[in-house]
Point group: C2
Chain length 342, copies 2
């Protein structure tokens, strides 16, 4: 079908337009230094011949690739949201993105390796699971921005949400509603879990509720939340903050199954029973069925921060702080309501 014919090169365009390749290059790139008439003619020929620049050759020759490598995980819905913001932010400063996915059978190492061969100028890693030492080694080769986690290594930049603050927002909200017995369902050693736990503890103490601090082991899955709920059932608190949304739905489901009031569907607000606040604002938490009060990360700010930081490192700009910390915000939906006495 498209077998024989060699694809159109810049040389073809130049020949057809009767100019040198270099001049044609200038026109195609939109660079200065070509006459208006020439410009028009070359463009017309390129159009007519269906010319497409060859990024490999272009990138090979250019000193700068203006390419940002991004590693994301297909299992994390939030990562694709972030991708949207990243394309916006990168485009705004004239950079391109090359994507490399982590899947259940394609690990982070492989994903990073691919980008290294593509000669990206910097790497932006979503929730990287690599060891700090590996990240440090990588950062010795090119600028590395780790997102959604902390990295205690001076060579690696970090852009993340203030998770401690996120949990505080959740607790403050519940205290405002009159809750005192507030339990935290933990995320163990998962990224962000320590910060979220600490935010809960800090806020409880700040509200003089230090004596009521109670942390139940949990995790990132629905099962983890369900198990935590079982442990809560004998002596349920009036409110719960959960490590993430998925765990929160598991918890909600068990509470509901045991006759505890459930979140109001259809946007209704919840009254009485156990209030639940999740974390992440995962897409499903918006569903009328779930309607979960949760803590949201600021996607646009995270993306913009990461690109700004990557570009600063590439272009050698001095940066103030190694960590860029973005403020979270509370999304109040149906699973949190006033505490009822008794």
């Amino acid at each position: 079908m498209q077998s024989g014919e060699r694809r159109t090169t810049l040389a073809d365009v130049a020949a057809e337009a009767g100019v040198s390749v270099a001049l044609a290059s200038i026109v195609i790139r939109g660079a200065a230094g070509a006459g208006a008439a020439t410009r028009e003619r070359v463009l017309e020929v390129a159009q007519r011949l269906g010319y497409q620049p060859d990024s490999r050759a272009r990138l090979l020759r250019s000193v700068r690739t203006r390419l940002l490598g991004v590693v994301f995980d297909v299992r994390h819905p939030f990562h694709t949201d972030l991708l949207t913001g990243l394309y916006d932010a990168a485009g705004a400063v004239g950079y391109e993105l090359t994507l490399s996915a982590v899947t259940p059978r394609r690990d982070e190492r492989t994903a990073i390796g691919g980008l290294l061969q593509d000669r990206c100028e910097a790497l932006i890693l979503f929730s990287p699971r690599s060891r700090t030492a590996d990240l440090a080694a990588l950062a010795a080769r090119l600028p590395v921005v780790a997102m959604m986690r902390t990295v205690r290594q001076r060579a690696v930049d970090v852009v993340r949400t203030d998770d401690t603050r996120g949990s505080e927002l959740a607790v403050d909200h519940l205290v405002d509603l009159g809750h005192r017995r507030i339990v935290h369902i933990d995320g163990g050693a998962l990224p962000g879990a320590a910060e979220r736990r600490r935010g809960y503890q800090d806020a409880m103490r700040r509200h003089d509720l230090g004596d009521l601090i109670r942390v139940i082991p949990g995790g990132s899955g629905e099962d983890d939340g369900a198990r935590a709920a079982e442990r809560l059932l004998p002596d349920p608190p009036t409110a719960v903050t959960v490590f993430n949304d998925l765990s929160a739905t598991g918890l909600l489901d068990v509470l509901r199954g045991h006759g505890h009031p459930v979140p109001g569907g259809g946007g209704q607000r919840f009254h009485g029973g156990v209030s639940v606040v999740g974390y992440d604002d995962s897409s499903f938490s918006r569903l009328a069925h779930i309607n979960l009060t949760t803590v949201a990360q600021d996607v646009a700010a995270l993306a913009a921060g990461a690109v700004r930081r990557a570009v600063a490192r590439i272009e050698g700009t001095d940066v103030e702080h190694r960590e860029v910390v973005i403020e979270p915000r509370l999304i109040i939906r149906g699973t949190s309501g006033p505490a009822v006495p008794g």
Copy 2:
């Protein structure tokens, strides 16, 4: 930090190992034609110098890039599932993937343009929204595989699920459970909607239920399902097949809000009331809170089919049919149960 030092090239490795660049290339590529001792030495040097091949130069020189371009939409969770399968399938036949995302502010045209410059050998498009004419023009340049939609154009290959069959599976299941008054909530002009509608109608007629065929306008969102539910309330059927899972949850929520029995949480099976079957097996449909009976697409088969077809076109193998149609399967969860008389 990583400023001054030029990165290690194959020439550096060759010089250090005391061989020619050509020979070093052979070793690095793992090609035949190098002595065992040489091979070991070159590899050791490459390792020590932290050599990384430059994919741009490599691809530029090679006749074949063995690169498959993939366009996916960040808004569609199913697309990331498919990505996983595609990496597996491509890796198995020695091809690489280059990804290009469609986002709310990055259209399909742009996404495709990027891949064209990357000199992919074929394009795999997830649920492409481009007009048939544009796809045909593209297919004149390189092999194009459209997934999850039909394209009535001989130059474009298609790999999709048999959506008609999917709806039939749903109806068969409901009829098995004793349902007769089964309504279909439609997807209008959305991709796949016509097939799903037809499958519903065919199956109803096959079960001699042609007189009970009832199609309600719907859509792809939760709201669409909710609106459809409102229309159903005055005279509810015993079962519903819905265009997709999101719409189905919207519908379920309204039915529940009006006192109709709701799906059993925690994996319980549903008894009596309105049975609901969704479509897509979206990740949230697995949640205990939702626990939706639905029709699943076979991710692995779709991915394998797309890669096999792309590679066949690239390598000039003859193919039997232009369309590769994959069999869907029914996932029975909690929102479908026996019809109760009366």
